[in-house]
């Protein structure tokens, strides 16, 4: 197996006085889709935010392509080539679709170079290009949030619960898109929808109570009903 693109080593993260992450270890190999599983409140979102520097860890290490990134400012971490698709699809509602995408440029002409790829992946983006993003449906907003990280060159994508609150048809479309992205970028995905997670991911890591418990390859988890039952409460 090739060297991990992202390595989270025993991080501890506080939000205010709350000790949210109490030892999270995650390793994301090059070219894989790794899914982070765990109940609501397990600390999945906080782990992604810790990687981005939005809730910086107070202990432990985070390595991107072998180099430490913990302690750097979020914009700096993003510029290294990490794209973040937050939960609840935090797009800019008063900006047009186009402006949302332009904002994500890191170099002149980033958008110009990628726009055909984005329009092919999400045709709705073409249709609503000049409309305020707040007018989009939930699924389209999620597509925009994903499209935004495709504008610059990102080698790692962190995607937080993309299927949340969406209809099955839309989820299928998103899954196809994420699969396509994984051809060129490594993906760390947070997903509650186990069916979606198990079809997409090569690897998994389970978080519980702010700690990572188990990690491994997806086919093994699918067979291990006891493990699924214990941490995820789905059979």
């Amino acid at each position: 197996m090739s060297a991990p693109v992202l390595e989270i080593r025993n991080i501890h993260t506080f939000i205010g006085q709350f000790h949210i992450l109490e030892g999270v270890n995650v390793s994301v190999p090059q070219g894989s889709i790794t899914v982070m599983l765990g109940r609501n409140g397990a600390g999945k979102t906080t782990t992604l935010k810790s990687v981005m520097g939005l809730t910086p860890p107070s202990q432990g290490a985070i390595l991107f392509e072998g180099k430490p990134i913990h302690g750097k400012r979020p914009y700096h971490i993003a510029q290294l080539g990490i794209g973040y698709v937050p939960e609840h699809r935090a797009i800019f509602k008063t900006l047009t679709v186009r402006e949302n995408l332009e904002l994500a440029e890191r170099q002149a002409h980033d958008l110009e170079k990628r726009i055909d790829f984005i329009f092919n992946l999400f045709p709705a983006m073409r249709q609503f290009y000049h409309y305020p993003a707040g007018n989009l449906s939930g699924g389209q907003q999620q597509m925009l949030a994903i499209a935004r990280v495709l504008v610059p060159e990102n080698r790692l994508l962190l995607i937080d619960e993309p299927s949340e609150g969406l209809a099955p048809v839309i989820i299928e479309e998103l899954m196809a898109a994420i699969q396509k992205l994984a051809e060129t970028s490594t993906v760390l995905l947070v997903e509650q929808n186990f069916r979606m997670a198990s079809r997409l991911a090569d690897r998994y890591v389970i978080l519980d109570d702010g700690q990572s418990r188990v990690e491994g390859v997806m086919p093994e988890l699918i067979k291990d009903e006891q493990l699924i039952q214990r941490y995820l409460g789905v059979a």
């Binding site: 993003a78 800019f92 008063t94 935004r148």
Partner: protein, 338 residues
Amino acid sequence: MATTLGKNTPILVMIAIITGLLTFSFINSNGDFGDFGITVLSGLFQGMLLFLVASGLSIIFGLMDVLTLAHGAYFMIGAYVAYDVQHPGGVIDLTAAIPDPNLRFPVALIAAILVGAGLGVILERGLLRPLYSRPIFQLVMTFGVSLVMVEIVKAIWDTTIYSWQDRFGLQESFFELFGQQFSVYRLFVVGIGFVLIIGIALILRRTRIGIIIRAGVEDRQMVEALGINVQLVFTVVFTLGCAVAAFGGGIAAPFLGASNNLATDFLLQAVAVVVLGGMGSYEGTAAGSIMVGLAIAVAQKAAIGTAFTVLPSITPMLLLILILLLRPSGLFGSAHSS
């Protein structure tokens, strides 16, 4: 249908208030177009000066969640610097180097802008930055900075109220309309104000920094997570805001002179504008500045020869109360914005 109506309401309220003010003023002028015209020009003039303070206050608040109570002091500093550069003596005496007052005035304005920008960087980088995420501290600190700036001004220029002596061409020019003399300089300031209103709107709509500012108003963290150095944007916006306020003080000085009162007067009026326009709304700030400027001028005219000499200074607050009764989140404020 309901949404169309909702969208148009701020414009309708605005038109209604402006029409009301103008009608009152016209009647108050006994139907004399010359008199009425003077009041309107004076209102637009004051409105534009107000816009130069309020626009920065509003954009800084929208982007950074900082209500900077030092903003009026930047206007005041601009007035002193422009006055000082223009006139003989003082800290900088350019009367020998640039004998022509018409040329000295633009230099005086540039000096005001540079001093405003310089003091802006110092305030943002040095004092405000450690206090992000502590709004009350920021409020107290910027208020303190305002007091300190007034004290520094007193130390440098004394407590004298300076009225402009060194008149230059533009200030001496008048044109006649309806039997009244109108000041070309006031018209010039109104023109600059309109250019800035449109210019800043274009920057916000069309440029990358404008997109970043509008996005930052919605969600700063997400802007940062896309790879944008938001702190740097804060510094740029804050500095420009201070520079524009100081420029406002500079162009106001030929009319208003230089005095300590400018700091509080313009701060209070600008805060009223920002709130009645709808916190963080640029359109609201532009429209609100003009409305408050007009209202003050109309009140000044109406108060002449009456016992209500206090009327002009309480007018911004009266207008603020009226608008908040009609639209609790301000003219262009959205109901869900805090």
